[in-house]
């Protein structure tokens, strides 16, 4: 008996599915990581913002213009505005407190509840599905398995977002301000950076990423008010494993968890959903800065 008959084979499909799950996780988590890296705020409401992105996309696609990409952009921007408003009204007053971290966590948790109920009020409790953009609404066969083409598109989009963000942070003036402020806020302030405004800008950007994530993932999931609560926990796992504040880390962490989720059902049944949390605990204990540390890395 050869080894290959004992070990279930990891097929092309497992890899593609894993990467697409990971891409979705990356889109969920990257904004959270950015905000934490620069502001030191762990935004509990990030999952809610992600969900809001999916709902706004849905609303635009059904009510305004039947173009997925425009709707997704509208969703991302709308969520960015909501996020900036949250930062300005409820997080900014807390930066100077002794317990700032925990107070911010609690306040953003308050927004988890508010966003959840607002979504229920506006869109009801039912769940919706969003069709993929017509261009990619077909199946492709690859290595004996079949996938929705959009699943492959999402992998590309995740890579594009990572690359775009990296360029933005390393190659632009705004990016250099962000990097400077995240490594030394006092110094940046003394050098004339308007730190509060920069913070709001970064929170806006992080929220845009949350909204974009929700919008782009909408065709892969069902959109219901429970979505925010489900994804925020995934986002926490990803950013902790990758390193709070690190973009590359978020990407690698997301891909790791995605592969775990893809292979889990075939290898282990009982206890499989505990594994990502276990990984989170281990990373927190032995490498609290995550597998990758620091913004822009």
């Amino acid at each position: 008996m050869s080894l290959s008959s004992l070990v279930p084979l990891i097929g092309v499909s497992d890899v593609v599915v894993g990467l697409s799950l990971g891409s979705r996780l990356f889109l969920i988590a990257v904004g959270l990581s950015l905000i934490f890296g620069v502001l030191g705020v762990l935004n509990f409401a990030h999952g809610g913002l992600y969900m809001l992105g999916a709902y706004v996309t849905l609303a635009v696609v059904t009510g305004v213009i039947d173009n997925f990409w425009i709707a997704a952009l509208a969703g991302a921007l709308a969520v960015g505005v909501v996020g900036a408003a949250i930062e300005f009204a409820a997080i900014r007053p807390l930066y100077d407190r002794i317990d700032a971290d925990l107070d911010q966590l609690i306040v953003t948790f308050g927004f988890v509840l508010i966003i959840h109920e607002t979504v229920r009020f506006v869109w009801g409790s039912g769940s919706y599905s969003v069709d993929p953009p017509a261009l990619f609404d077909f199946s492709v066969s690859l290595g004996g398995s079949t996938f929705g083409a959009y699943r492959l598109v999402v992998i590309g989009l995740a890579v594009a977002v990572l690359a775009g963000l990296w360029l933005f942070i390393t190659r632009t003036y705004f990016g250099s301000l962000v990097r400077g402020t995240s490594s030394d806020r006092e110094m940046a302030s003394m050098l004339g950076v308007d730190v509060p405004r920069l913070y709001t800008a970064v929170f806006f950007l992080g929220s845009v990423l949350a909204g974009l994530g929700g919008a782009l993932s909408a065709p892969l999931q069902s959109t219901s008010p429970a979505l925010g609560d489900q994804v925020i926990i995934d986002a926490f796992i990803v950013v902790v494993i990758g390193g709070l504040g690190s973009m590359t880390g978020a990407f690698v962490g997301a891909m790791l968890i995605g592969m775990m989720q893809s292979l889990g059902p075939q290898f282990i049944s009982a206890g499989s959903i505990a594994i990502p949390f276990l990984a989170m605990v281990i990373v927190l204990l032995f490498r609290p800065e995550g597998l990758f540390g620091g913004i822009g890395e």
């Binding site: 762990l42 317990d99 609690i106 306040v107 308050g110 009982a270 959903i273 989170m280």
Partner: protein, 383 residues
């Protein structure tokens, strides 16, 4: 001061109240209230029992948050631990106890043993989980406790050991005790209420003693400044670990009571959203006060119940608590207890008994836990 001076009259009334209404009288009145409630409408007894359980849950949680500054988002793990300990013993060992002690008192024996097993289980889990968790602080502590809670949730719903009955949870039926021809149901509304009152009051008293012991003083010193405490030769991590275990045990007791009250031990108890209930109650009530979580639990449950009487609002009760939570953290971190004390000071004149002053505002709730409310200043006996 003229007789028409209302301020003076109010002040006079205030001092009369303060002089005459001693703590003993308040205690007596409270006890009378608890007894009277037992004869109230059945659902009100149920609701109040629920409040007592949630209050104990939040109080246990706040031992860690309010007294050592560690915010746990995973205390649902211990809430569930107590509940499942009881549920599993009731399900699997009920018949065994019936054989040993006779079927008459077996339900009571099983309940007591189940409760103790639940508590032991919680402590057994809290010792390693606490030991690992207290290595971290602030956000990282919140995250690791959240992860531990979700590990518990995953294991309960996937049930690899075949003990927890997965997503459906375990039905908890407490049974009837027959002694000398008399029969009573442990789960009967009034019986269970009486039992809960006794256990919860005893547990609150226990926490009170801990808080006002030298151990509690050290905890507060750690909260104020971990570095300074360490410089004084205090083993910060060890103290936090011990507090973590005590805190978990208190929450475990609440979990045991929860299972009996709800008649089911369900996996939702370990979910982070259940852990968040303790956070909401504590923050709303005022984390810096001993009685904060209790008052917060009261507000949480009774407002929720009030909202539930209006079908149009019922579906959106979370919205209200979200807004309340944000408002309290932003503008009034002293919470409801702080508000009540402020109100008392306004009405009855300031500067009475030292320590009654509300905690300083803003600045991240720097007030010393237990420095006010409940006359925590009586803790002079600990040196």
């Amino acid at each position: 001061m003229s007789a028409t001076d209302t301020g003076g009259r109010v002040r006079k009334f205030g001092s009369a109240v303060a002089d005459g209404w001693t703590r003993e009288r308040f205690g007596l009145l409270g006890a009378l209230g608890l007894v009277l409630l037992a004869f109230g409408p059945s659902f009100q007894i149920y609701l109040f029992t629920d409040f007592l359980v949630v209050a104990l849950f939040a109080l246990g949680f706040n031992l860690l948050y309010g007294y050592t500054g560690l915010l746990s988002f995973g205390h649902g793990l211990f809430y569930a631990g107590g509940a499942y300990g009881l549920a599993i013993v009731l399900r699997d060992l009920g018949p065994v106890f019936a054989d040993v002690v006779g079927s008459g008192v077996a339900p009571l024996v099983t309940f007591v043993v189940g409760g103790l097993v639940g508590l032991a289980l919680v402590v057994a889990v809290a010792v390693p989980v606490g030991w690992l968790s207290v290595r971290l602080e602030e956000i990282y502590f919140a995250l690791i406790t959240l992860a531990f809670g979700m590990i518990g949730y995953s294991l309960i719903i996937q049930d690899p050991a075949g003990l927890t009955n997965g997503t459906d949870g375990i039905i908890v039926l407490l049974g009837s005790v027959d002694v000398g021809g008399e029969s009573f149901r442990i789960g009967a509304r009034q019986t269970y209420y009486a039992l809960t009152v006794v256990v919860v009051l005893a547990a609150i008293y226990g926490v009170w003693r801990v808080v006002n012991s030298p151990f509690g003083t050290v905890c507060k010193a750690i909260r104020e400044s971990p570095d300074r405490a360490a410089a004084l030769g205090i083993d910060v991590r060890h103290h936090r670990w011990m507090t973590f275990i005590i805190s978990a045990a208190i929450v475990g007791i609440a979990g045991v009571l929860r299972a009996g009250l709800a008649s089911v031990a369900s996996p939702g108890l370990t979910h982070w959203s259940t852990s968040a209930v303790a956070v909401i109650a504590t923050v709303i009530g005022g984390a810096t006060y001993f009685s904060g979580p209790i008052v917060g639990a009261f507000i949480f449950l009774y407002i929720r119940w009030g909202i539930s009487r209006f079908p149009t609002l019922d579906a959106y009760w979370e919205l209200f608590f979200g807004a309340l939570l944000i408002g309290v953290v932003l503008y009034f971190k002293a919470g409801a207890v702080g508000g009540l004390l402020l109100l008392r000071d306004r009405l009855f004149g300031e500067g009475r008994a030292g320590g009654d002053d509300g905690p300083t505002q803003g600045g991240g709730g720097a007030a010393e836990p237990g420095s006010s409310g409940d006359r925590a200043d009586d803790r002079g006996d600990d040196s």
